[in-house]
């Protein structure tokens, strides 16, 4: 019985040790990933609201220069031009 209990305790200790090492490794891996990500996609230093091509801001949905901009595109008129039935009062041409 003593041998069985000792073997059980030894096993539990090994599981506990392995769990600690796994947790430590996970923390280290997360830290390493964060540092790498920070270098690859650096944050903004000039202002939290500024927009730059080098620092895309996921919140910049109203900034045309942001890749996150939600653009409705060029908008067609409510109706196409019609044939004119009144003499023109204005001209459209190159300028």
């Amino acid at each position: 019985m003593m041998t069985t209990a000792s073997q059980r305790d030894d096993g539990l200790l090994r599981v506990k040790s392995a769990t600690r090492w796994l947790a430590a490794a996970a923390v280290a891996a997360a830290a390493a990933f964060s540092i790498t990500a920070a270098k690859v996609v650096p944050g903004k230093s000039h202002a939290p609201t500024s927009t730059s091509v080098n620092t895309p801001d996921p919140n910049a949905v109203n900034d045309p220069n942001s890749p996150y901009y939600q653009d409705p595109g060029l908008q067609a008129p409510n109706q196409p031009p019609m044939r004119a039935y009144n003499p023109p009062r204005v001209s459209s041409g190159g300028s």
Binding site: A47, P80, P87, R89, G93, G94
Partner: protein, 310 residues
């Protein structure tokens, strides 16, 4: 309602025309238009040393405080670039300058000696930093912005909308032949003569259409031309080469929901060349394209040329 005779005067290096459907609204509409023109000129003129844009162009590489109006005009220019895949690019300023368009066009010598310059792709609109929240902008060293076309169109849109809201009348604003309509249109719509040159009298025989709202713009290579060393140049530059667009369309007229969108599309169409009709049709933008040889093509519901309807 009957559109009264237009008020016409020089502005922004071109011609402004104002029409209203109610004579009593003319004075207030003119005041609004004058305010918008003055604000646009102070903010975005490339030819005024004291404009905000000139200061920004002189301060390349540095953040520069800009007004809410210039923030909006820069935003409009960036949108035009984005929506055309970079064809309508505000960073063509330096390329225009080295090709000889370095002052208001009336002062540009119509002919001159050859220009010895190295031209290439313009820096590109994505090099512009715009910080709307802090009211500032930054461009890289060596970059010069030209907001000419989009700023003019935005001015027309804003003036027409504000004047219509203020007076309740129908208002049409034309700046260099780029039109914005707001408020109730006259019966039959606003009749517009189409020509190579916006300065052509509307009484001149030729095609005409009517619009009731939104914008209509015409871009072309027949005006704002000059020559250097016998080489004919014009102001619509291909951002990919820094040179005037290759000849294909003499003029392109586009109707859209706003003057800015119409102007953006008509400028892009000149640069797109033979691909323009498909590009316009895919976006549902009614357009009339006149080839260099005079042949006319219409897309997306633009009416065929015909006899006058009056």
């Amino acid at each position: 309602m009957t559109a009264i005779a237009p008020v016409q005067f020089p502005a922004l290096g071109t011609t402004a025309v104002l029409l209203v459907t109610e004579p009593a609204a003319l004075g207030a509409a003119r005041t609004v238009l004058d305010e918008e023109l003055d604000g646009t000129d102070r903010a975005a003129s490339r030819f005024r040393d004291d404009s905000e844009l000139s200061l920004l162009n002189r301060s390349a590489g540095e953040w520069v405080a800009v007004s809410a109006r210039l923030v909006e005009l820069l935003r409009v220019a960036l949108l035009a670039a984005r929506r055309t895949g970079g064809l309508v690019d505000p960073t063509v300023g330096q390329a225009l300058r080295v090709l000889g368009y370095d002052r208001t066009f009336a002062e540009v010598a119509p002919d001159g000696p050859p220009v010895s310059v190295t031209v290439g792709a313009v820096p590109g609109w994505r090099t512009i930093d715009l910080d709307p929240a802090l009211g500032r902008a930054r461009i890289p060293p060596g970059v010069s912005l030209d907001l000419g076309a989009t700023a003019k169109a935005a001015c027309a849109d804003s003036a027409a909308r504000r004047a219509a809201e203020l007076t309740g009348a129908g208002v049409l604003v034309s700046l260099g032949g780029d039109l914005a309509a707001a408020g109730p249109a006259p019966e039959g719509g606003w009749s517009v003569r189409l020509a190579d040159d916006h300065a052509v009298s509307p009484d001149t025989p030729g095609p005409a259409v009517a619009i009731s709202s939104g914008g209509l713009a015409t871009s072309g290579t027949a005006v704002r031309r000059w020559a250097r060393g016998g080489l004919v140049l014009h102001h619509l530059l291909d951002p990919g080469t820094g040179r005037p667009a290759a000849p294909c369309w003499r003029t392109v007229s586009v109707a859209a929901a706003s003057c800015v969108d119409a102007n953006t599309a008509s400028t892009a169409a000149i640069l797109l060349g033979s691909a323009a009709p498909t590009w316009l049709a895919e976006r549902g933008l009614p357009a009339r394209l006149v080839a260099e040889d005079g042949r006319v093509r219409t897309v997306a519901g633009w009416p065929e040329d015909g006899e006058p309807g009056w």
